[in-house]
Amino acid sequence: MRRALAAALALVLGASGASAQTMRPFSTYRQWHGETSTVARLDFAAGALRLAAGRPNELYRMDVLYDGERYEPVSDFDAARGNVTLGLRAAGDGGIRVVSKRQLGQTASVTFSPRSDLALAVALGAVDGDLDLGGLRLTSLDLEAGASRATVRFSQPNGARCRDAVLSSGAAELTVLGLGNSRCDRIAFEGGVGRVTLDFSGTWTSSSHVSVKMALGQVELRLPRQVGVRLTLDKFLATFEAEGLVRRGNAYVSPGYDQAARHLDIDITTAVGGVTLDWLE
C-alpha cells in the first residue's frame, strides 16, 4: 500500500517536475543557385546530430536547437569560394566543455543538396551522430569524432567519385556502414581508444585502399565476398583470426583476389585490442 502510494505520488510529482529548458531554435539555409561544388565544414560540440541529403533546391540547411547560454550558431557562406561553415561555436568564455545535460540535449539536423559536389569536413565533440551520406555527391570526407558515438552510413551509392575519406576518433565508437557505396579511392581511419566497425557492403564500382590505425580497441571489418580482399596487419598485443583469408607473403588475401574486378586493400596497424572479420554474402 505504502509503496503503491509512494509510486503514484512520485509519478504525479515527477510529471510536474519537468522544467522547461531555455533551448533556442535556429534555422539557416541557402537556395541552390546552380553551384557545382561546395566545401562544407560542420562543427558540433555536443548533442545529437543528423546529417543527410536534403532538398535539391537547397544548397544546405541546418535546423538546430541549442543552449543559447553557452553556444551560438554558425552559418557562414563564402560565395566566392563556395565554402560554407555550419554548426555551433562556444559563446563568450564558456569554452566547448560539456558541462550540463542541457548541452547534450542540443539537436541539429543538417542537409546538403544532392546536386552539388560536396567536400565535407565534420568535427564532433560529445555527439550522438547519425550521418547518412548516401545520395550526396561526396568528393571527400574528413570526420573527427572526439568522444562521440557516431554512425556514418552510405545508404545509397555516392553520386560522385570520392578521392578520400579520412576518419579519426579519440575515445569513440564509430560505425561506418555501406563503404562499398562510398566510391572512395582511399579510406583512412585513425583511432585512439574505442571501437570501430567498417562495413564494406554496397555497390562496388571501383577499387579502394583502406588504412586503419588503432591504438587501443576493437576493429571489426565486414567484408564483401565479391571483392578481392588483401589485408596486411601490423599488430603488437592484438588478436586476429584470418578467417576466410589465405596467407601470401606478409599479407592475407581472399581466394580469387587476382581475378576479382574490384580490389579492397586494407592495411591495419593496431597495438592492443583485436581485429575481427565478418564476411558478407
Partner: protein, 427 residues
C-alpha cells in the same frame, strides 16, 4: 482496507508503466529527404502555434518609417548578417524606446515599423529592417533583409539579393529568389515589452471603502450560501459543525493532510481513468466533479466552523440567562460575523503601517486555520453523514449533569433536532 490497497497497488503499477508506454513509440529515423522535410515542417509548425497564442492585446503598429536615431547613438549596420547573434544584441540596444518612440539608423538602408511590402514592380535598394511587422516581398530588394518580431514572405517573383535574418519570425519562401543565406531565430527578445502605464494608486479612504465592500461582499455571499445550506442540508451541516466542536484537533490534522493530498489524489484519479481506457471518456466530468467536491468541502466546512462558533457563543449566552433564539441561522450569522470581524478590522486599519500587515496576517492565519479545520471536519464526517467524530454517539455514562444542563432538552430547538441523528439531544 484490503481491496483499496490492492486497487491502489495496481494503479501505481500501471502508473509506473506509463512512461515506458510513452517512450515506446517508434522513433523516426531522420535520414534522407523525407526526414529533413518532416523536421522542416515541424519547425514551421511551431511558430504558427506560438503566434496563435500570443497576447491579443499586443498592439499591431501602424506601418510607418522609423526615424533616425539621435546623434551619438550607434547605428546598426546590416552589411554582414553572418554574426546574427551580434546583430541581435545591437538591435536590442538600438530599438530600446526613447521617450516612447523607437529610433534607429541603418547605414545604407531603411527601417520600418509594422507591415511592409515591396510591390512586384518595385525595387528597393539598400538594406531593410522591418520591426514588428511582416515583410512581403513581391518585387526586388537589393540588399539584406532583417525582421524583428515579424515574418518574411517571399512571393513568386520576389527577389532578395542579400541575406535574410528573422529575429522572432520565420521565412516563408513561396517561390522567390534569395541570393544569400537565410537565418531564422524563431524566438528572440529584441524588443522590450510594451510598458502599460499603471493607474494612479487609490487614496487611503478609497482603499478602505474598497476593502470594506470586498469583505462585506464575501461574507454576504458566504451568509447566503450558509442560509441555503441550513435550509436544505441542516442535518449534514450540524454533523460537520459538531465534528468541529468535538474533534477540533483531528479535524485540523485531517484538513491539513487533505490539503497536502489534494493534488496527488487528483493525479491518481486522472492516471487511473486514463489507464482504464473506458474512464478516458469520463475524465472531463471527473475533473469537474473533483473540483466541485473540493470547493463544496472547503466552503461547507468553513460554514460549519462558523456554525460551531455561533452555536458555542449562543449557548454560553443562554447559560448566562440571555434570551435568544437558538437556531442554526443565528449560529451561522454570529459565527460569520466573528470571522468577518478580522477582515473588517483589516479593511479599516489595513493602511496603518506594520499594524495593518499584522492584522492582515492574523486574518489570513485564522481564516486558513478554520477553513482547514472545516475541510477536515467535512472529510471526517463524510460531508455530515458519519457521526463518529461529532460526539453524538455518547455513552449514557457520559451524560453528565453539566452536559444536560448546557443542552436544551425541551422547546422548539430540541424538538427540531432529528431524533434519529441526535439520540442524546432529542431526549
Amino acid at each position: 482496507m484490503r481491496a483499496p490497497s490492492r486497487r491502489l497497488g495496481v494503479l501505481a503499477l500501471l502508473a509506473l508503466a506509463v512512461p515506458r508506454v510513452a517512450f515506446a513509440a517508434p522513433g523516426l529515423e531522420p535520414t534522407g529527404t523525407h526526414a529533413a522535410e518532416l523536421v522542416h515542417a515541424f519547425w514551421s509548425l511551431v511558430p504558427h502555434i506560438a503566434r496563435s497564442t500570443t497576447d491579443p492585446q499586443q498592439p499591431h503598429p501602424t506601418p510607418q518609417a522609423l526615424p533616425h536615431a539621435a546623434e551619438g547613438e550607434a547605428p546598426v549596420p546590416l552589411d554582414d548578417l553572418s554574426k546574427s547573434t551580434t546583430i541581435e544584441t545591437e538591435l536590442r540596444k538600438a530599438l530600446r524606446p526613447h521617450d516612447g518612440a523607437i529610433r534607429v539608423t541603418i547605414p545604407n538602408g531603411t527601417a520600418r515599423l509594422g507591415d511592409f511590402s515591396i510591390g512586384s514592380n518595385e525595387t528597393v535598394s539598400g538594406h531593410l529592417l522591418v520591426v514588428r511587422g511582416t515583410a512581403d516581398v513581391y518585387g526586388k530588394l537589393l540588399g539584406n533583409l532583417v525582421t524583428v518580431e515579424g515574418d518574411v514572405v517571399l512571393h513568386p517573383g520576389g527577389v532578395v539579393s542579400g541575406d535574410i535574418l528573422t529575429l522572432g519570425g520565420e521565412v516563408r519562401d513561396e517561390g522567390g529568389e534569395i541570393g544569400g543565406e537565410v537565418r531564422t531565430f524563431r524566438n528572440a527578445s529584441v524588443l522590450e515589452a510594451v510598458v502599460v502605464p499603471r493607474p494612479a494608486p487609490p487614496s487611503a479612504l478609497e482603499t478602505v471603502f474598497r476593502r470594506l465592500a470586498g469583505a462585506v461582499g464575501v461574507f454576504l455571499t458566504l451568509g447566503a450560501l450558509g442560509f441555503g445550506l441550513v435550509m436544505f442540508g441542516r442535518p449534514n451541516l450540524e454533523v460537520v459543525s459538531d465534528t468541529v466542536s468535538h474533534s477540533f484537533g483531528r479535524a485540523f490534522a485531517t484538513g491539513l493532510l487533505g490539503q497536502l493530498l489534494l493534488l496527488p489524489t487528483f493525479g491518481m484519479l486522472v492516471v487511473g481513468l486514463i489507464l482504464s481506457v473506458v474512464g478516458i471518456v469520463l475524465l472531463p466530468f471527473a475533473v469537474v466533479v473533483y473540483a466541485l467536491l473540493v470547493i463544496v468541502a472547503a466552503v461547507g466546512g468553513f460554514l460549519a466552523v462558523a456554525h460551531a462558533m455561533g452555536e458555542t457563543y449562543t449557548r454560553r449566552r443562554l447559560a448566562l440567562g440571555v434570551m435568544a433564539s437558538p437556531n442554526s441561522y443565528r449560529y451561522l450569522l454570529v459565527g460569520l460575523g466573528a470571522l468577518a470581524a478580522f477582515w473588517l478590522a483589516w479593511s479599516v486599519f489595513g493602511w496603518v503601517p506594520v499594524a495593518g500587515d499584522l492584522i492582515r496576517g492574523a486574518a489570513i492565519l485564522v481564516t486558513w486555520l478554520l477553513a482547514t479545520t472545516g475541510f477536515g471536519a467535512a472529510l471526517l464526517s463524510r460531508a455530515g453523514i458519519r457521526e463518529n467524530f461529532a460526539g453524538r454517539l455518547i455513552p449514557p455514562e457520559a451524560l453528565t449533569d453539566e452536559y444536560l444542563w448546557a443542552t436544551p432538552q425541551f422547546g422548539v430547538t430540541a424538538a427540531k433536532r432529528p431524533g434519529s441523528r441526535t439520540p442524546t439531544r432529542g431526549l
